[in-house]
């Protein structure tokens, strides 16, 4: 497909979506809906980071549920202990999450095989236990309370839900644009080449292991950013909020929507977030339902629901065309 028609197609999808997202808080919706909107934007940022890692580098990580915890704790601790402003905490949280990603990624991505998956899972569990036990730093399972809202940055204030909504929506848009650009820069092209045929890419001079570590660190930036926002928006941070549980949920959001298209992750996040509200499930019932849906999707629609439905429809149309 020529580049221009791709762009036109993209614009036809994204512009109405963006317009709807922008007017959403002005519609007669409840405060709780706006709250869900903020959560969708925050989760979305992380899931787009994960989507870049999986879609381009071909690596899945359970660690994103913990990397965003690293971001959240970094922001909370900097603010509580040193009085650092939110606007400095945000980049600090991103850098910190990327550093932890490097720490996990460096030993495990050099080695071929499934070590990376195992290490991201192990990291998630261990980090949660450490956060529980290292009371002097993290305050254990009580967690940290961040009572203050971020201070104003020029005209930007983040005191109300609606302001948070617009701010996180802005971050989400940036994340989506970044996820669209990253596969097209040389790093992204090298990653794709290595994911398709590592021997060939290496022979052509690609340092696949190093590129993958860099990709993991970049996706850590997304998670750290989301984590800092989460900590400030929720006003608290405790070890129950991260670990392998959220990590699994992020993977689930990504794969429900499908990682190969740019719109997949956000569709997955929205569907996953709205599910408990539609069915009125309790938290545990919701997790069970998500687990079952997830397993069904992996086995029946490995490309994600939208793409698989699209295939199904096209198949039907073709069959009809043949019949006629």
């Amino acid at each position: 497909m020529p580049a221009r028609s791709v762009m036109l197609k993209g614009a036809a999808f994204w512009l109405p979506v963006l317009a709807l997202a922008l007017i959403f808080p002005q519609l007669p919706v409840s405060g709780r809906s706006v709250h869900t909107g903020v959560l969708i934007c925050i989760y979305g940022v992380t899931v787009y980071g994960l989507g870049f890692l999986f879609g381009t580098a071909g690596q899945l990580s359970v660690a994103h549920g913990t990397l965003w915890g690293v971001g959240g704790y970094t922001a909370a601790l900097l603010t509580l202990n040193y009085g650092v402003s939110f606007w400095l905490c945000l980049p600090a949280a991103m850098v910190m999450a990327a550093l932890f990603a490097g720490l996990v990624g460096y030993p495990s991505l050099r080695v071929k095989g499934h070590y990376f998956l195992i290490m991201t899972f192990a990291f998630s569990e261990i980090a949660r236990v450490v956060a529980l036990n290292w009371r002097t730093l993290t305050n254990g399972d009580t967690g940290l309370v961040l009572a203050a809202s971020p201070d104003a940055l020029g005209p930007i204030t983040l005191n109300s839900r609606v302001e948070w909504y617009y701010f996180t929506l802005f971050l989400l848009v940036v994340a989506i644009i970044a996820a669209a650009i990253l596969p097209r820069i040389p790093l992204g092209r090298r990653l794709k080449a290595a994911a398709q045929n590592e021997a060939l890419a290496t022979a052509a001079g690609v340092n696949a292991a190093r590129d993958r570590v860099v990709a993991f660190m970049i996706s850590g930036l997304f998670a750290g950013c989301a984590g800092a926002c989460w900590a400030y928006y929720q006003h608290f941070m405790n070890p129950d909020q991260f670990g392998s549980g959220p990590g699994i949920e992020f993977i689930l959001m990504l794969l429900i929507g499908g990682a190969q298209s740019l719109s997949g992750p956000i569709i997955g996040v929205i569907v996953t977030m709205l599910l408990p509200r539609v069915f009125g499930f309790s938290a545990t019932q919701n997790e069970i339902a998500l687990g079952v849906i997830f397993i069904a999707i992996i086995l029946l629609m490995p490309k994600g629901v939208p793409a698989s439905l699209g295939d199904l429809l096209r198949g039907r149309l073709r069959a009809k065309g043949r019949a006629a």
Binding site: M119, F121, I295, I298, L299
Partner: protein, 290 residues
């Protein structure tokens, strides 16, 4: 440091290492045969522990009934999971990994739904505690160590000499050639899932008699299991046994030096060290299972 503290920690470490071994064997064998990274293995362990809690919470001789119930139950669950789900992921092992993630959510939350998140206790089979100087030897832990040693002796002999054992090792070495030699590979894989599940359930039942259990514990034990599997060499049962012993001792040493709250980080540090220094594991991985 007191010699009694060292001995006490070494003894406790040995009993915990037994449980790691029981969990790790299923992980490492399933990986060796199918390439599936099965994170839900720890949940099978917790299913075993909760089955024991339902049947025999009061301990004593009833424990044996509870243990058998746990083994049968988890064996059936493993059978159902392999036939119903994992069988369809053999062509793309990463799908098996994803399915196991979904299973964690499902099993963990079913346990929470029925038994809440609070910790539960199961009384042990033996409650006598022997004392030598400052050393306290719990008879239940001795029981765990002895039974695990017996299980693994029998398991090692079966793997080495029995027909099924040879077929299993052949399948781990090379699935295609094994098929050509007339080994029913799908059945071997099914047996591995069931056997691994039963061993994990044994570990879970043992665990429940020495520590309080909660639905969230599966993930932390599956991490230990993978640490053991990686350090021993993925797919290598002998390596896993050595590594489980090492991990138990390293954790005990860590606790003896007074860093008890960091115990769970030991397994992670060992894994990183191993990946940096000797990624194929202590003994070589899948190519040389036992």
């Amino acid at each position: 440091m007191d010699i009694w503290v060292v001995l006490q920690q070494a003894f406790n470490g040995l009993s915990v290492a037994s449980i790691y071994m029981l969990v790790a064997v299923g992980i490492t064998l399933v990986f060796g045969l199918t390439g599936i990274v099965n994170f839900a293995h720890g949940e099978l362990m917790m299913l075993g522990a909760y089955a024991l809690l339902v049947v025999a919470p009061q301990g004593g001789p009833v424990f044996v009934v509870g243990l058998v119930a746990a083994l049968v139950f988890v064996g059936l669950v493993s059978f159902a999971l392999e036939r119903g789900l994992f069988r369809y992921t053999l062509k793309r092992p990463v799908n098996g990994f994803l399915v196991s993630l979904g299973l964690i959510l499902v099993i963990q939350n079913i346990l929470i739904e029925f038994w809440t998140i609070t910790q539960k206790n199961v009384a042990p089979l033996f409650s006598t505690i022997w004392r030598y100087g400052d050393l306290r030897i719990s008879s239940q832990r001795v029981f765990i160590i002895v039974v695990t040693a017996l299980i693994f002796t029998a398991f090692g002999l079966a793997l080495r000499y029995s027909k099924v054992g040879v077929a299993l090792r052949a399948t781990a070495l090379d699935r295609e050639t094994a098929t050509l030699m007339g080994i029913p590979v799908p059945r071997m894989i099914m047996l591995t899932f069931i056997g691994g599940g039963i061993l994990a359930a044994t570990g879970g039942a043992f665990l429940a008699t020495i520590y309080p259990i909660s639905p969230m514990m599966g993930s932390s034990y599956v991490v230990k299991g993978f640490a053991v599997a990686i350090v021993g060499g993925l797919g290598n049962v002998g390596g896993a046994m050595i590594a489980a012993f090492l991990l138990g001792m390293a954790e005990a040493a860590n606790a003896a030096f007074g860093f008890g709250e960091w115990t769970d980080a030991v397994s992670f540090a060992l894994m990183i060290l191993m990946l940096l220094l000797r990624p194929q594991g202590l003994l070589r991985g899948t190519e040389a299972a036992i």
